[in-house]
Symmetry: C2
Subunit: 252 residues, 2 copies
């Protein structure tokens, strides 16, 4: 299963990506979580203090070129062989409690350019990678919609759009659905997040009319504390994870 | 004065941009607010229902080429003449209660490409534009850090980084300060937002150690209601705007 978490900034993409990763790992799946946002924060949510040690996968580009003798910019044999998740060299991930965490790459220098090369490489990698049964690849996408112009998440099984009870995040969801359709992603599902009660659910359902709502997650002090470091992903209790398990059950 | 609002997604960049716009307009300044996020939502915060009618400024590129006979891609006389804010044709903005709202441009089609051309054009326009006294240009930047790789906000007087009481938005602030320095922006100031009390201020100060904190804005139900459409920018009362006025006073 390949899924991408998308949505307006701050809606809770990374936190939901991490919670889904934990839930499917607990169900004995292999899990790869990829931070596809140059403004990387998935490692922080996973509480990986060694985040800086993770070599961004963009650097595989040079490695592949070097090993195979192909020039950068040419289609590499690595891709035509349809690599498996396990073919990614160890130096490009950190294992955090059984979840492999990868990062796409970041902006190294102000004025140094856009993140187009990073996105293009990730797109190739994802497009060619063979995903086995009981293997989950979870992509935490950049906030907003530019990645859809780039088609970075091309070929995911599901694109989840996280929405909060407000207008702007719902507008982003509508844009994402339209742009996702352009690149052939048909399974786009809204997840309503930080819901304080029935009126928030109603607000989201109304603002997301025409979109397919997969489910809702309540506003949770425990989940908020992940953002401050007071709680860790592994400390989340069964009750907090229950709505996430329900979402996952509706996907698989 | 040219300022850019930056920060992790969801921290409140657009809302603060709109509140600053209102405060400086109330002080009899000319105000231009530019939505520099392809995932446009500044118009929604301003309650501009005609957002779709705003022609994105990227389309000026063709207009300039056409009018001046230069080819797209060549430096255009429009820029070398150092245009004033008033030189931007009327079709590229909407006047909302005395604030001129412009949008950079969005992603038109999934797989259609990145937002590099839009960012490059905005960068040229901003770089050459003459800003008069009592004239404010307020840029609402895309979430995250990619715009800093592109140097879109080159030449702003201040870059404000909005931070919430959590780790990830503070990490983004540190990245922004570093990348902003690379493109020569020295005046980078943190604004702590959605602060619930002294412990949140303390959390932000600690997480932003080494950064220059301009001030704090309290968590406000009235401001949250802007996001749901229950309150409008013009309805915000003096008390709610007071901390914003204080921030502005420290800038000018």
């Amino acid at each position: 299963m390949k899924i991408a978490l998308t949505g307006k900034g701050g809606v809770g993409k990374s936190t939901l990506a991490a919670m889904i990763a934990r839930v499917v790992r607990d169900q004995d799946n292999k899990v790869v979580a990829i931070d596809a946002d140059p403004d990387m924060n998935l490692a922080t949510i996973f509480d990986v203090s060694r985040a800086r040690e993770i070599t961004p996968i963009i650097e595989m580009k040079e490695l592949i070129a070097e090993r195979t003798g192909t020039e950068v910019g040419q289609p590499a044999p690595f891709f035509t062989m349809n690599p498996k998740v396990d073919d990614i060299p160890e130096s490009y991930w950190v294992d955090q409690n059984g979840i492999k965490l990868l990062v796409m790459g970041t902006v190294q220098r102000g004025g140094g350019g856009c993140a187009c090369p990073e996105n293009a490489f990730l797109k190739s990698l994802l497009g060619h990678m063979m995903i086995a049964r009981r293997e989950w690849v979870i992509l935490d996408m950049e906030a907003g919609i530019e990645h859809l112009g780039r088609g970075t998440a091309l070929g995911v099984d599901y694109m989840l759009v996280v929405v909060e009870p407000n207008r702007t995040s719902a507008e982003t969801a509508h844009r994402i659905r339209k742009l996702a359709a352009d690149i052939g992603i048909k399974q786009v599902r809204v997840v309503g997040n930080k819901v304080r009660g029935p009126s928030d659910e109603e607000l989201i359902r109304k603002a997301c009319e025409g979109l397919d709502v997969l489910g809702f997650l309540p506003l949770s002090e425990q989940i908020r504390q992940i953002s401050t470091g007071e709680t860790s992903l592994e400390q989340l209790d069964g009750e907090t994870l229950e709505p996430v398990r329900n979402l996952v059950a509706r996907l698989s």
